[in-house]
Symmetry: D2
Subunit: 362 residues, 4 copies
Amino acid sequence: MSEETTSVHYINYLQLDKVLDAQHLISDIKGKAAHEEMLFIIIHQTYELWFKQILHEIQSVMDLFETDKIDESSVGVVVRRMDRVNKIMTTLVGQLDILETMTSLDFLDFRDHLSPASGFQSHQFRKLEVMLGLKIKKRHQLGGCPYHSQFEGEKKEEILNLEESDSLLALAEKWLERIPFLNMEEFDFSKKYEEAVNEMLEKEIAGIKSANLTEQDKALRIRMIDENRKYFERVLDEKEHNKAMQEGETALSYKATMSALLINLYRDEPILHLPYQLLRSLVEMDHKIAAWRFRHVQMVEKMLGQKIGTGGSSGQGYLKQTVDKHKLFTDLANISTLMISRSYLPELPKNIKDTLGFNYKK
Amino acid sequence: MSEETTSVHYINYLQLDKVLDAQHLISDIKGKAAHEEMLFIIIHQTYELWFKQILHEIQSVMDLFETDKIDESSVGVVVRRMDRVNKIMTTLVGQLDILETMTSLDFLDFRDHLSPASGFQSHQFRKLEVMLGLKIKKRHQLGGCPYHSQFEGEKKEEILNLEESDSLLALAEKWLERIPFLNMEEFDFSKKYEEAVNEMLEKEIAGIKSANLTEQDKALRIRMIDENRKYFERVLDEKEHNKAMQEGETALSYKATMSALLINLYRDEPILHLPYQLLRSLVEMDHKIAAWRFRHVQMVEKMLGQKIGTGGSSGQGYLKQTVDKHKLFTDLANISTLMISRSYLPELPKNIKDTLGFNYKK
Amino acid sequence: MSEETTSVHYINYLQLDKVLDAQHLISDIKGKAAHEEMLFIIIHQTYELWFKQILHEIQSVMDLFETDKIDESSVGVVVRRMDRVNKIMTTLVGQLDILETMTSLDFLDFRDHLSPASGFQSHQFRKLEVMLGLKIKKRHQLGGCPYHSQFEGEKKEEILNLEESDSLLALAEKWLERIPFLNMEEFDFSKKYEEAVNEMLEKEIAGIKSANLTEQDKALRIRMIDENRKYFERVLDEKEHNKAMQEGETALSYKATMSALLINLYRDEPILHLPYQLLRSLVEMDHKIAAWRFRHVQMVEKMLGQKIGTGGSSGQGYLKQTVDKHKLFTDLANISTLMISRSYLPELPKNIKDTLGFNYKK
Amino acid sequence: MSEETTSVHYINYLQLDKVLDAQHLISDIKGKAAHEEMLFIIIHQTYELWFKQILHEIQSVMDLFETDKIDESSVGVVVRRMDRVNKIMTTLVGQLDILETMTSLDFLDFRDHLSPASGFQSHQFRKLEVMLGLKIKKRHQLGGCPYHSQFEGEKKEEILNLEESDSLLALAEKWLERIPFLNMEEFDFSKKYEEAVNEMLEKEIAGIKSANLTEQDKALRIRMIDENRKYFERVLDEKEHNKAMQEGETALSYKATMSALLINLYRDEPILHLPYQLLRSLVEMDHKIAAWRFRHVQMVEKMLGQKIGTGGSSGQGYLKQTVDKHKLFTDLANISTLMISRSYLPELPKNIKDTLGFNYKK
């Protein structure tokens, strides 16, 4: 055991000499230190540190998906890491409250010095978006230039390479496609599900027709059911689904959609519980990132009103567009459209149920 | 002292016999109690209790504004009550996390029984919207009927009366208009501010022209400054402002806008600090209500996907529209557009400064 | 379908006529309505509503444990319900921020009218404590009377009956005892674990002895290891463990402790992941209740300082005692003391590993 | 304008090359990278960044107090900065949720490499404690060595110097002592307050005596009043107060206590509102730091159970002691003990009231 071992000190271990010496106020360099610039620097640094952590987790999750280990004991690991990412996102949303203690007047004390720097230049956040699955063509454009024009050399190349690689979204889709539940022995999930959906819809319509309602009300409710029916039809017919994909209404493959649906419907089976938690955690992450973008817009509104951003963007205008447009896992959230009540849920044959359960009882 | 006095018991004081006996599961009445319906009922009841509290606070704030007491010691009271409303809103947003533990499958166990009930029928929330200043014509329409068709008798009348009365937004505007700071003795705020703005814009343009930038970059930045200039021009010229009001670009009167600007610029003067906190708290409330609507949309997406709402609304579609459209205090947030750096801020004459400070030093 | 079906209205469904008509200000009855009393009533009512929800969840979890269903698909259900309880607790802690907007001066406007009512009289909270496992003899005494003297008739009897019934803590212990993992075929967990612990301790001591440390430092570190060793010894020897139980150092049976340890060590095995989440959620609930008590003390300190409570308690003094003393699942948290690094963890034989995994691959 | 001006890039401005290159996993250096060590490093770095920000704010507040500027427009500035510190503390408490996603088993993958490093060696946190007012003699001792033995050279000297300088607590006390409200013209606050207290206590006792209560209940309530009375007596008699100071029951000077009481009682007067917010923010900070310590104990319990800390401390034992013992602003919180209801509050003479209000109405 070397001497080094025996002398780990908190300050060295955390490299605080570097981390705590990285706050040089530009207002100070320009001649008049602005008290509030410290906060501006430090909060951005904490964001970047957390982005590094998120990338660390997402990369590890993608590695697990890629090596196919995900089918077995790794699902638990992935769920825990996604849960961590989501807890980090909660902190990132919450700590905007700190930045909002810096008001418009405070910010103007040093804002002019920053141009043209902009949060848009966060390399890590761009990487994260691409790794999760945000393709350049789906991205909301800011001015004429592609987003990666903000970067040069290695940093640019890294982003471009990631654009070409499998994203988390793509890897999750592949995982869903290879899960071996859709055709279990004598149980044909699609067929059983279709029967259940039809039974449900017929019963709902019959209920409305015999109900003590005005004709107008009846018509309204039947229209509602018809509206929902189109989602069912899409998933009940692979061709319809593929057409919807071509028309950009969904991006998740037919097989992956069916798997996700099965997992959601039968999540109480022990073997499906962790996969269910995994799907849920992806939707949760998507929502938390959207919530962060949303609160970001509010923060900018308070701080700048309609002022133009330092990077030349229309400030909150650009950010506002990304809240919805940069969502990636909407198709997984939309599985809820296809859910049917437990009372219609096709019962699994006993031997299948045993297969999906644990076998430690024997 | 009556015997009654001596026997206050927690359970009676809080009327828990009523409050805790108001959860009758409709799924139970229909024959099969759904475990999760309890949560659905209880969380909505807590929302309604908190709405009652918010109405209690907002009403009291409006009363203070109306009796003109607001100019003096009441500003502190208003600030504290608005702060309370905002803390309640934080809880209301946060507790959506609880409802999200109820998943799609759970909800379907009793959802059918609920139709056509809908959160849209919350009388208190409609009242709140109207009291804050949401006029029927500004409201996002749901189907063909006006929103108050959901209510009858007294409840309907109450809403209609509120539509006719001064809202919090209107009362805050009047308060801003009567604050006696715009023409203080020899200090003409508008004139001084105009000079400062012009000085700032000229200096910024000169800086860009002499900078080591490409012509393209220079043109871009000058366009940005011109973009901001139009907001300044509006506030520097009452006619421009009134035109903008007619065109629906702003709703706050010229005089109120100028007062709000002055308060934001000189908030460090002791007398203006509480008014500043008050303006800030109104924007904060607006943002928190919007954040609640936003998270509500996300919750519905997880629970229902694209399913139609029980009340016949397009579910998340309707809610999504209200996030932005039902914002009310945007003009106060947009004051930030008009802020200028402290280095350009016209200095107050000493006698004015004394007037705005406290006089306990003599 | 009856007419009733067709007319569910939000206001009736939630029985808002009762819930929103249960706020009668005692200060108003006494002649001078105190604005802040409304908050005091409403926040307590939301607390009671949430307590009702927590009791609903805890009772359902206890029912699942009792019917032995817990071994199979119910573990997922229990985990989800405990997760909900924990999210509710997060809200209950967070919303103390709202109550803290009511200051000392505000509270004194109506406090005198409340005596002798006291939060100590919350029947639901007492029930919750007892159901979780807080026995009367473990409870911090307030004055001379047993806590159930606050209640009469049915309410008192209910509490006394619960004292006699199995608590959640007891049911969790039984569940741990019956989980069939400790003696799996040829794998004797206790023996393997003992060997691993001894190997680890010897290696640690050897490492210290050969390290470049002062004799003083070496002695210090070896003392630390010896300190930890006593926890290992207790769990490695059933008699030691039983002695520790008699001396009140632990309350969890030997077998349950071993099971909890095994689950924590091998939580990555698919079959153990949900049991792990379950154990974790119990500790989390315990911590969140303690956090709520802790923040409660702080709130009282701000509001009353050292004033005596309305119920005659020493105010924060009593509450402070319960933070630590009323913790119930400490033995589950303390399993962490017994954890050993993965590098020492005895590997499971392949056939056991398969047993603990899923069998859907074949 | 130099070229430098025109090329500020986000990555350079934030010195991300340093900040994001400061995470070297010791487990990696030792041969086997532990996935979870990244989180351990990054979260500690964010804590240190936030500590730097808190020190920045506290130092600026102390500077304002020292230059005596605090009496005038600076109170608003101080309130805003303390509010920021408190929002940071909220984040620091909340983000413990992230660290808790790292479990015991995960931590053991790299924990051995860390010894003897320990959070106890955080120089910034020690500085903060000393700057706020935690004196070495009040500090809970860890082992035999004084806490500053953890540091050397400049870092040690800095701490020792701070021990000798005025703390925030001391500066706040001086500020309270010099506020010129206690003897305003003909209004002798102490005397008026004493009369009010006596009137209140007499009325309370008379009320109890004439109430329809058992003799036992009456005796109990009168004992409660007597218990409160001793706090009043202390503040009504300077000698009593000084004696209490000598006995360690309070640490705040008589004059400062009286000023704090006056501010709390008359906080609705405009001139006293910001001072009130300031006092409140100090108590709030104290509570938030305590809450952070408390949650820290819980996190350690989950992660280590009763294991000994890497720095040789008894782990949660040491931390638990500091929760209460390191509180500093308890005397300000305890002002609540001395509050009397508005109905007993001595009315201010009109000319005083005007003095405390603003004079912009003339």
